[in-house]
């Protein structure tokens, strides 16, 4: 059945939705950032699963490989992982400043502090 052959796309969608749900539903800002990380990891899985060729080996020339998996998406994902790590670093720096300024990292407590 074609649905189960495309299981990589289903897993990608599932992980992406879990990440988005965590971002929306968590009251704690650190958990939102974790959800963001899950969301981005799902996208990387999508790219890497695109590169797999059935019966493909590694793309080497010695010994010469006839059918090999596509190495380009791996390079793209490496770059995207660097971007993701930098985003997490900036997010955590901002969260540290929020903790310093408000004393809490819970979103509703921060909102309450601003409502006064």
């Amino acid at each position: 059945m074609p649905f189960f052959e495309l299981y990589n796309y289903w897993i990608f969608i599932l992980l992406m939705m879990i990440g988005l749900y965590t971002i929306i539903a968590s009251p704690n800002l650190v958990k939102k950032i974790i959800g963001l990380s899950v969301f981005q990891t799902a996208i990387f899985l999508f790219f890497i699963s695109l590169s797999k060729v059935a019966e493909g080996t590694v793309p080497v020339t010695v010994p010469p490989a006839e059918v090999y998996s596509n190495p380009l998406p791996h390079a793209l994902v490496l770059t995207a992982i660097v971007v993701s790590v930098s985003t997490m670093a900036v997010a955590l720096a901002i969260l540290m400043n929020i903790k310093q300024a408000y004393g809490t990292v819970e979103e509703d407590e921060v909102d309450q502090a601003e409502a006064h």
């Binding site: 969301f39 995207a80 985003t87 901002i94």
Partner: protein
């Protein structure tokens, strides 16, 4: 020799200077180097525009395309920087606004940011500018994603630096970070689907390979993801939630660059994808992109202007006004005819001048008064005449009064709507102008016609190094309203080029 390498140098010069910034000390050196770097980029974009454009040559010719493969790797396999009529125009806008605002920044940054952080501020500032310049020039969709994220990360940092004035900037920044990253993630998913169908990432190659694939469901999915991702970056109506907090609480020069330039670069990517990569036929004839964006652009104009009227802080009012102005640009985009596209492109130019000028004025007010609540501005018209005159002139431009550049862009938009017989859309543009009258008059009335408030009674005119750049931008918007031949000529050339490509 430099002439041949302009595309690479425009991005490299600010990047290099940004890297040496952290080892400089306190004092004015970071500002000086940042200003020199941004002026160098601006000069190079002017030369590039002259090289590319057909209008500025004598006799007038068709526009050229400059392709610069990085590392000399040939085109479908390597990344190229590709400058054509559309690109060169947007590059000019980005570099021009960056050059003027960086010059303004000396006193504003010294006032708003603690001295030991100033050099890191300018480092992030130059990274932001070089990322935006790179996005505009890149001819490879994945490279666009990487550079969008570089400039976005720098901008999250810059917005968070507003915490020294108002700690709400931190909430605005984290919100902007989460939504911006989700938007860029959606853009990346779209790139992934396009790659899975065609096997290439180069924009010119994608457009040839996508021609027979208009019915492919993966391509339609890719377009949907790309559109949503870019709408987040562009702050188009339902996905604009991050903009008021981020632009409202950031330091004023950061808001000037964010509102004036960063969201326009997002709009530019949408133009590039819809017209060059996917083609007018796919985007507008096969898919209902036109009507969907008419709806969201209309809501952006009406809801943005209406919410702007209710704001009590000047910077948040300008931020909501930006939401409405992006609605105008999206409206021009979705009309997809020559007048509509010319209107959208010339509005990118004009709004960048006006909105950045207005945010610089808000920065002057923050420098003198320490706050930007509209109530506190009472009576400033007599105390700071030049600054308030700039505020009024910029406000008139937002309304679209004839003799300001806002009128030129609205004229093209209304002509584009009427060319397609869509009179309700032309009516929406006029209603937007009327709502703009209300929020601009609200500010002007308080500034000129009320007695001075307590905080306003003690101020004098601001230093010339702050007032002069604000007047350069607002004055340019007035000049290009009276003689729009250069700006609308370049925009029309770009629009014709876009339509001829598909």
């Amino acid at each position: 020799m430099i002439r041949n390498h302009l595309p690479a140098l425009i991005v490299i010069v600010p990047l290099l200077v940004a890297l040496v910034m952290p080892v400089l000390g306190r004092g004015d050196k970071p500002w000086l180097l940042a200003t020199l770097a941004s002026w160098a980029s601006f000069a190079m974009t002017i030369v590039l525009q002259v090289q590319v454009s057909g209008l500025l040559r004598n006799p007038a010719a068709t526009p050229a395309i400059i392709s610069y493969p990085i590392g000399n790797w040939q085109v479908p396999w390597g990344i190229e920087f590709r400058v054509d009529a559309l690109n060169a125009f947007i590059l000019l806008v980005v570099a021009m606004i960056s050059a003027v605002v960086t010059f303004y920044a000396r006193l504003s940054v010294a006032h708003a940011i603690p001295p030991e952080r100033v050099r890191f501020f300018y480092s992030a500032w130059l990274l932001f500018i070089s990322g935006l310049l790179g996005v505009t020039m890149s001819g490879d969709v994945f490279n666009v994603y990487v550079l969008i994220e570089i400039s976005a990360l720098a901008s999250y940092t810059l917005v968070a630096m507003g915490r020294y004035q108002n700690r709400k900037a931190l909430q605005g920044s984290i919100n902007y970070l989460v939504l911006g990253t989700i938007g860029a993630g959606f853009f990346l998913i779209g790139v992934g689907y396009l790659y899975s169908v065609t096997g290439t990432l180069n924009m010119a190659d994608l457009s040839t390979r996508l021609e027979p694939l208009h019915d492919n469901r993966a391509v339609i999915t890719a377009f949907a993801f790309l559109l949503v991702g870019l709408s987040v970056k562009m702050a188009l109506f339902p996905l604009h939630g991050w903009l008021p907090d981020a632009h409202g609480y950031a330091p004023p020069i950061v808001s000037a660059l964010l509102s004036g330039v960063a969201i326009k670069v997002g709009a530019y990517i949408m133009f590039r994808l819809a017209f060059t990569v996917l083609g007018v036929e796919f985007t507008f004839a096969k898919l209902p992109t036109g009507p969907v964006i008419w709806l969201f652009a209309t809501l952006a104009i009406l809801v943005g202007s209406y919410t702007a009227i209710q704001q009590t802080s000047l910077k948040r009012l300008l931020a909501y006004s930006s939401v409405a102005q992006i609605g105008y640009i999206a409206l021009g985009f979705s009309l997809a005819n020559e007048n509509g596209l010319t209107g959208a492109l010339v509005h990118i130019f004009n709004h960048a001048l006006m909105k950045s000028g207005l945010f610089l004025v808000a920065g002057i007010i923050a420098y003198r008064l320490g706050e930007s609540e509209i109530g506190a501005l009472a009576g400033l018209g007599r105390k700071m005449p030049f600054t308030m005159a700039a505020l009024t002139a910029g406000g008139l431009g937002l309304i679209g009064v004839p003799l300001t550049s806002g009128f030129v862009s609205k004229w093209y938009l209304v002509s584009g709507a009427i060319d397609r017989g869509l009179f309700p859309l032309a009516f929406v543009v006029l209603v937007g102008s009327m709502l703009a009258v209300i929020y601009v008059w609200k500010v002007v009335e308080i500034v000129y016609f009320r007695p001075a408030s307590d905080s306003a009674a003690k101020v004098t005119e601001a230093p010339w190094s702050l007032v002069f750049p604000a007047w350069i931008l607002v004055g340019a918007s007035l000049y290009f309203g009276i003689d729009a031949s250069l700006s609308s000529g370049l925009a029309q050339e770009a629009a014709r080029f876009l339509l001829s490509q598909s």
